[in-house]
Symmetry: C2
Subunit: 344 residues, 2 copies
Amino acid sequence: MRAAVYLSAGDVTVDDVPDAAVVEPTDAVVRVLRSCVCGSDLWSYRGVVNREAGSRMGHEFLGLVEDVGRDVTTLEVGDLVVSPFQWSDNTCPACLDGIQSSCANGGTFGAPGADGGQGEAVRVPLADGTLVAVPSGAGEDLYPALLATSDVLGTGLHGATLAGVSEGATVAVIGDGAVGLCAVLGATTVLGAERVILMSRHADRTELGRRFGATDIVESRGAEGIAAVRELTRGLGVRHVVEAVGTKESWEMAVGMAREGGAIGAVGVPHASPRLPLFGPFVHHLTISLGIAPVRRYLPMLIERTVDGTLDAGPVFDTVLPLEQVGDAYAAMASRQSIKVMLT
Amino acid sequence: MRAAVYLSAGDVTVDDVPDAAVVEPTDAVVRVLRSCVCGSDLWSYRGVVNREAGSRMGHEFLGLVEDVGRDVTTLEVGDLVVSPFQWSDNTCPACLDGIQSSCANGGTFGAPGADGGQGEAVRVPLADGTLVAVPSGAGEDLYPALLATSDVLGTGLHGATLAGVSEGATVAVIGDGAVGLCAVLGATTVLGAERVILMSRHADRTELGRRFGATDIVESRGAEGIAAVRELTRGLGVRHVVEAVGTKESWEMAVGMAREGGAIGAVGVPHASPRLPLFGPFVHHLTISLGIAPVRRYLPMLIERTVDGTLDAGPVFDTVLPLEQVGDAYAAMASRQSIKVMLT
């Protein structure tokens, strides 16, 4: 079968790889209908983190169950399924706590030895604990929105959840990538925030942010950005901040714009492990919650709301390309020409 | 009147100072019955932080209202009162959020220009928003327990609260000073924790920790301490960690012993502003809540429970000295000969 393969920084291509197959009795094989490129895929593409040459890429996909191991009980061949970007048993202590992304037996698609989502098919370990079936009747028009639930929507919503967003809240979102935009959507449509300040200086992203519910846009960054957010909030700062970037600079903004006693929900992967000076958060009574989103926890709800038409994160995909042009997809996202590319 | 005065590192003495007096109409003057030395007073005593020569010391006191300004409505001359270590208006946005320690008009006793608690009397700004009257009938035998509510008990309880401790919880407490010991008491007696692991290697503190409800004692520190806590918790780590030290080393322990998805409640003042690498907390889904305890929030409840006999933090005072021997009090605490010294 064909699948995206990482060659070196700046070079992702499509190549022939062994067919995906059931190995363990708890596996399923999913024939991919749609996949996409994630902001986190760009870290190795840009050479910021190392990745083994020849390894598979991608971790978001929507497809049809093609084969199941003998121990799989909740899925049938032919089911339309969404996969979270990680597999999980959904039964270990962490999973029972709703942190499937810390599953004792879990892993991430595209990691060494695992199939990637950017390919014709994917071997899914622990299929019962991982895949969620879409109710029958969901047409192709819903595929973009369903695909978005596999990572960016779940991750954005998790950021807003970690930041303690609830009905009527005022929220600031740092990061205008697909995750940041989905944090806006999750905060408003799912959690009921009334006011969402999106930090963004790109017209296309700003426009989508407004469509997803952002009520205010702040273009400036750093100290100026902080001052602008404080001005919008009677000098108090915001009670709920979603950090969807993961850099030292974005963390400084997050701490700076939080209200006394405020909460920061952080889903931007802190690849460089920025070091947070603790005195400021101590003096200002902040609560800081971080984590790789346990998308599996949210997936049944997100799929249900996507299918019933009350939630649509599909517009994060502003570019569609065939799998064979995966190299162009990476280039478009790395240059920020595209917010997110869907692969068919 | 007589009051403790800071001269230089290692030198705190008692000297004649101007009498405490009502200056603003919202002030009260409290004649001090009992005060004490705080672990945080030791920072300047040890020369770790600078303090102006001649400045007043101490921020915990219990006493009788001696005079009130014309705008004070909730207190009368003769009332027995406990003061939190900071004054607050109890009406600003932060106070209404229960974070009186971030009060827009607040301040700390013993700070430049303010009276200190270690003296014969104290001018208390914003008396209505600060002082809490003790129900009549509380005898001298309750003074140690009441005095402990002014800082260490409220601070320890706040740590446990920030760490999300609730009925039946398993908690680890890092720090065996008065605050850490009071975190044990708050976690068990107030919040209903079932199991409390206290990190301590001092026999006297260990014994008091057990008396306050600690079920397990871990003497080792660093990686060994983390391993010991994990061994006590089926390898999972603890869901609730109270950080009551504030150093780089104590933070490393806190992060290392927290369970996936766990919470750290931090009340140890991070004077040196240690920098927390964010990748670990991100991977392990931690929630980190920090803050100077808003003791005023807890004070009415703590006083009520102290007077009704269900809560007694008095035993943290293992030494009693007259105010005139304040220098000996500092020396005893700095050498860790004493857990906490009460001044009469």
